[in-house]
Symmetry: C2
Subunit: 339 residues, 2 copies
């Protein structure tokens, strides 16, 4: 396995180190190339993501990313629109996979969370993330700015199929989340695609809810969800909320997947670089370690993925109120998976 | 006061009756005109909102709306895009005001909610709600659908000013919610407008958070919010979540306000027509009654508005586990405000 590693900025570097410890313990001899993409390189030479970076990344089987960004020194949007999103687009990461599971011991803000265990299939290469917008008369009283959500049948159908397939191997329930009553063009396309693919998966029960109602269910009845399929922006919003209700973004992992297998898929924690706690060795590497589990499952190493998830589950259950020491969490998981 | 009443569909009719009881108890002699807009009229003659309706509504000082829609018989989008949204646009309801308050006794799903008391100023006439989208090759493998978010300095500035003014008379904190790191055109316009208006309100502390992060704070630290200002779609999403964390949409009221005073403003519960429980007399009219409080405050009757809110607060606190009987809730509020 040829692995590209992008530790990134802030706690990204710290949690990636732990994630790699766990990977090495399970799969010896992974060939790794490290990339210094992120705020550090941008501040050094103004580069975000070059064509050479992309070509070189493509020579790997998978990518592990820590976290990108440093809001203190890089303006909002520069690395997101210059690196993170171009990466997703260049590598055709159309399936943005974000599982949410409430592990025993996780600190959920909900009084009665019930059993939470679902995955969100967020479309990753279309919608409002395509940079299709513009502005005129900027800075004047007559300024006008637009953002256009772009949706194609091709782009929607491939993630809808992926979501149906995942529902089949889970509890057999698929929920489309959109805002079809207002966004009739995009919403109509999504709804029709789901309706037309559904007969191929007769064992999957299909449900729909508006994004606004979905946020209500997320805090009142999250157990109702099994697989959620949704567009890029709604997926961004609902997965952060999902991470919050399952105990915080400290444990939320994600995969940016090219389901066709043409390009390397990329695995990363949902959290950011958290400059406020960086360098103190107290970031929780659990989300990065669970991203390794997703990575392992993606390359067909299900048994190894199961071991990582079981180790994380045991670790979370036994933590109690003890403070997190980044390296110790990694060591404990390594000890468990190696036992 | 000339009041237009649109009871609408389902429980809209039931809760509006209670809201009017309360209004009549406080302000005798209100001149009312009832409009049969909604699913019933649409199913009868195919009409949603005519030019005559709009002209006639404009002759009133304020509008009270129950709830619109019947998902069993009217396709999604027809009444939303044919009546509700055209009403907001025709009457220039740019300030969509949605207060969230956790009353003692309300059933919040949060373990440690803290004190929740904020208002969302949602822009109501721009963004992704303008119907600026289209589709080609519909129903074919080459279908493409777009939705365009339209944002103008004029449209943004007037709600930003309104939000700052509200913050001044509250706890002095304003949070802009957007997604500036991805939606740079719209987000840049919003951010710059807030930055440029801020010096006029030096006593207001200004904060920013991305919509995805805002959903996290909404369940982990909702007390941090005082006034939130945001665009039409983000406002739609965050206010449903806000309603959920403060005990459900049974108590969430809203105002669709033309802050210039040119057109009548409209007050309505955030909840829908709930056909599943319609006609059973068990819908909670609290949100409709609190909408009357917003209406009263809007027309300068602050003392009366205070009395409604105090009565609702007392009623919620004393409810316990008793089942809701729509008319009894209205009667109790009337008794308290008349005492
Ligand atoms: C950083 C940002 C561009 C990104 C997104 O909006 O997709 C992040 O919020 C995420 O969810 O991965
Ligand atoms: C019914 C729908 C069009 C509406 C909206 O999206 O604005 C509703 O969700 C609301 O919040 O008032």
């Amino acid at each position: 396995m040829k692995l590209a590693v992008i530790p990134g900025d802030g706690i990204g570097v710290e949690v990636t180190a732990e994630a790699l410890k766990v990977l090495d313990a399970l799969v010896p001899g992974v060939e790794k190339t490290e990339y210094d993409l992120g705020a550090r390189r941008y501040l050094r030479n103004g580069e975000t993501l070059t064509d050479e970076d992309i070509a070189s990344l493509k020579e790997h089987d998978v990518i592990l990313l820590g976290a990108i960004g440093d809001p203190r020194s890089v303006p909002a949007g520069v690395l997101e629109r210059g690196m993170l999103l171009p990466l997703r687009f260049a590598l055709d990461h159309h399936v943005n996979l974000r599982p949410s599971k409430l592990y025993p011991g996780s600190a959920t803000p909900l009084k009665e969370p019930g059993e939470i265990d679902f995955v969100v299939v967020r479309e990753g290469t279309e919608g409002l993330y395509t940079g299709n917008g513009g502005a005129i008369r900027v800075g004047t009283p007559h300024e006008m700015g637009t953002e256009t959500s772009v949706n194609t049948r091709y782009g929607v159908e491939r993630v809808v199929r992926d979501a149906f397939a995942r529902a089949t191997s889970r509890r057999g329930k698929l929920t489309l989340v959109h805002k079809t009553n207002v966004l009739v063009n995009a919403g109509g396309l999504w709804q029709r695609t789901v309706d037309e693919v559904a007969p191929e998966f007769p064992e999957v029960e299909v449900d729909y809810c508006h994004i606004d109602a979905a946020t209500i269910y997320m805090v009142t009845d999250p157990s109702r969800f099994d697989v959620i399929v949704t567009d890029n922006l709604f997926g961004d919003i609902i997965t952060d909320l999902a991470a919050a209700v399952t105990g915080g973004i400290g444990t939320a992992a994600s995969g940016n997947i090219d389901a066709s297998g043409t390009n390397p898929s990329m695995f990363e924690p949902v959290h950011g670089s958290a400059p406020d706690i960086a360098g103190q060795g107290k970031a929780d590497p659990t989300a990065a370690i669970l991203s390794v589990a997703l990575l392992l499952r993606h390359v067909g190493k299900d048994a190894e993925a199961d071991r990582v998830e079981a180790a994380v589950e045991a670790d979370l259950a036994s933590r109690g109120d003890t403070e997190i020491v980044t390296a110790e969490v990694g060591d404990r998981i390594v000890a468990t998976v190696s036992a």
